[in-house]
Amino acid sequence: MRMNIKKEISENNIIILIIPNKKYPVVLEDTVKALASAYSKLCYTSLNKPYDKLLDEFKKSNIDAGKFFFIDCVSEKISTGKNVLYVSSPRALTELNITMNKLLDTGDIQLTIFDSLSTLLAYEGSMTVIKFLHSIISAFRTYGSRCIFTCMKDDVNADTIKDLKMFADKLIEVE
């Protein structure tokens, strides 16, 4: 079944997208492209790739990076750029939480793509991730903003996927 991500996110504010590892780069690119065409103010929170690399990839894929504000948890910088905020580490969940909240508080973010929950789970136990997830999802809901959390299917077990679903509006498994 083909997934229509634009339709799904319009009907469900918080989505967890489970993607087979092999298809991850392609599905992620398609998802970002689709959402960039539907929204004008997005946030891309990256635990996988640094901001500089993302900019290159967006350019190659003809995705308008100007619509995005980035949160880079990979580069381990302690500075800011024009459209990027850095978080010191993918383990710094409190810092990440505060950073995302600050961004949401500007009122400028319609939708966030969080890449990815499976990377977060590689650094932290599932309980810590669940607590973080509930906190950040509550923030999205409070600010009336939407979020898609991506997750690499082969990197998490079925029980964890079930656990993650607890606070989301929908869990979509891409085939």
Binding site: H134, T142, Y143, D163
Partner: protein, 179 residues
């Protein structure tokens, strides 16, 4: 199972609902509470007040007899005063929650105890429940919603077993049970 009958006969109910059918099962529970009570305190632990009221209204549930307690929204953003919602600072402050619940309601819905476990340990929740049971809330219907398959499963199971010592009834809601 007749939910209305269960609510009439029991003062403190533990309702174990399926995460898969969370919205549908919650709807049936809330409708039953709404039919049988005149002033309902709805404690929003899982989603903010705005999301909950939107969902209830979408399901044609009259929210005029509800007072909502939202433990989430104020944590992120200053909230404008609202006639039928009390905003608390955090799900971590159970004393504040207990005081807020003293709003003169005849039913309390805790949605969900499972989410409360994300912020509290089981013994704090049990202590909170004890105070709720003993602190001038006699005659007030208490409905604690618990997700059956929740991630804190071992801790949740222990909590349910401990709460069950004080609950009048523990009901496992299944799809068939609410037809």
């Amino acid at each position: 199972m007749n939910l209305l009958k269960e609510m009439t006969e029991n003062e403190f109910l533990l309702m174990l609902i399926n995460e898969e059918q969370y919205i549908e099962q919650l709807e049936k529970i809330v409708k039953a509470v709404e039919k049988s009570h005149t002033k309902i305190c709805y404690v929003c632990l899982n989603k903010p007040y705005q999301d909950i009221t939107n969902e209830l209204k979408a399901r044609k549930i009259d929210t005029s007899r509800f007072i909502f307690i939202d433990v989430l929204s104020s944590h992120y953003k200053k909230q404008e005063p609202c006639e039928n919602c009390i905003f608390l600072q955090s799900p971590a402050n159970l004393d504040e929650l207990k005081d807020a619940i003293k709003v003169g309601c005849n039913a309390i819905i805790m949605d969900t105890v499972s989410t409360l476990l994300v912020y509290q340990d089981a013994s704090s929740i049990i202590s909170f429940t004890h105070k709720l049971l003993t602190d001038g809330n006699k005659g007030v219907k208490k409905i604690f919603i618990v997700l059956k398959e929740d991630p804190l499963s071992e801790e949740s199971r222990m909590l349910v077993d401990d709460l069950n010592m004080f609950a009048d009834k523990k009901i496992e809601i299944t799809k068939d049970l609410l037809r």
